[in-house]
Symmetry: C2
Subunit: 276 residues, 2 copies
């Protein structure tokens, strides 16, 4: 019964002071129709304004119940909603932890939406052709040493994946991810975080394309070379050169993608099945 047992633990834990007045507040100030949403918003606010830093562990569900003065159902739905938003991660048997917001998670829904709409590859490349060369050009102007280093690391990873492509499908996967990562890094290098944000949902829909491209056309090595050329121009601060290099790369990728699609014209009944 000594509930006040000191909360040891290495991981950061927090106290959520709450005078149980939530149920009352809802009627007065809050505009939400249901409690769960209200609780979720309360927590979201504290997470977003930094009060609950990333990595922090939330109180247990049963504790949050008494903190907010609501039932566990409500708390669970609130946590679930926040997890869905990418604000926290729920680890069964352990607890709920605040996660760092990142563009990839935030754009998950949008990615799914794009995927569902079954965008024509042509449309995808059209917008990439508009965005990415411009991004590369700006990256050449603004890239920081840290980003340059990150890109070097990425190129090394890509290379090792390319060299062992025949070993297993795992390497194909590694290559596809590293490939997309490179483009994401270029976006980051621009210094304008919105580029990252905008590009992310688009790239998410390219994983399949890359996988097929590698398998059917064997374009991995060529892609690595393209990336290297882009990287060099960016690292050298050659804006125009970076733009051109990226343009050429995207043209090449598109032609590979088209080739790989032609090579796989059958299997239209159930090709995807990309459950992870």
């Amino acid at each position: 019964m000594t509930a006040l047992r000191a909360i040891r633990h290495s991981s950061v834990t927090v106290v959520i002071p709450e005078p149980t007045a939530l149920r009352t507040l809802q009627k007065t100030a809050d505009s939400h129709s249901n409690l769960a949403e209200a609780v979720a918003d309360r927590l979201a606010e504290r997470i977003l304004n930094g009060e609950l830093a990333s990595g922090t562990r939330l109180p247990a569900e049963r504790q949050l119940c008494v903190d907010f003065g609501v039932s566990r159902i409500v708390v669970r739905e609130a946590l679930k909603a926040l997890a869905e938003r990418g604000l926290l991660e729920i680890r069964p048997g352990v607890g709920s932890f605040v996660t760092a917001l990142d563009a990839a998670v935030a754009s998950r829904h949008l990615s799914q939406y794009i995927q569902h709409r079954r965008i024509e590859p042509e449309h995808l490349f059209e917008i990439r052709r508009l965005l990415e060369p411009a991004m590369a050009a700006q990256a050449a102007r603004n890239a920081t040493p840290e980003i340059v280093q990150a890109m070097q690391v990425n190129l090394k990873l890509t290379q090792s994946a390319v060299e062992r492509l025949e070993d297993s499908d795992v390497q194909i996967e590694a290559f596809a991810w590293a490939d997309l990562d490179f483009h994401q890094l270029v976006a980051t290098a621009t210094g304008n975080p919105l580029y990252e944000t905008v590009l992310s949902p688009l790239l998410d829909n390219l994983l399949d394309v890359r996988r097929r491209g590698v398998r059917v056309v064997g374009s991995a090595r060529q892609a690595l070379n393209d990336h290297r050329r882009i990287f060099e121009r960016i690292a050298a601060g050659d804006s125009a050169g970076a733009r051109r290099a990226m343009q050429d790369h995207i043209d090449a990728v598109q032609s590979w993608a088209e080739a790989s699609l032609e090579g796989a014209t059958e299997a239209s009944d159930a090709p995807p099945q990309t459950s992870s």
Copy 2:
């Protein structure tokens, strides 16, 4: 197969045949750790592949329980998750209804993310200047009569809002929305659905800017004129002209935005908190 009990009811309702084997399936085929997610995925799949059309009403929660062979908790969490994804709308006391996927809802999380990151207006306009003129140019090439008509309607709405701006804040709101809608329509007019998708989360973060712009700088009438000019070029199929018109418009908007920001230097209540 006896579960095929016909469901009456006037409103569109569906039967969810399910041999209660979900709990078993989870152990075998499904990779999900929790039932709610499994149920959500089952439903999401049926919604996304069109089996459950938009507007359809799902069986009651208590019915879904027996359909899936799980408790109401699980069903509720699944529905809640789907609602969060924008796949359905839960109306208390009535039921859950499948909603049409739309880019705006799908990009909600991304919009929130952008908002939280407190993007510099400069960054926002940088990417708009890259995207929107190109979009306008393509819209001039691809606009369908329907879109042209929709844009005309939009311009009328904008005009009526502009003429009554002094009447109330409601009109300011109406103008701001119509303004953003116009830009969205240009994206739609390109014929490439990805433009809409990409632009949507960006525009969401412009509402405040527009509101301030109208109040502080009184730029509404000028914006309307700009929009008219852009519309004319698009309707005339003048690609280069549309691009130029949009370019000018965005330049103007940016200068208004900067002016309105200078005029409102109060903003000391919420310190930046920009993590990078």
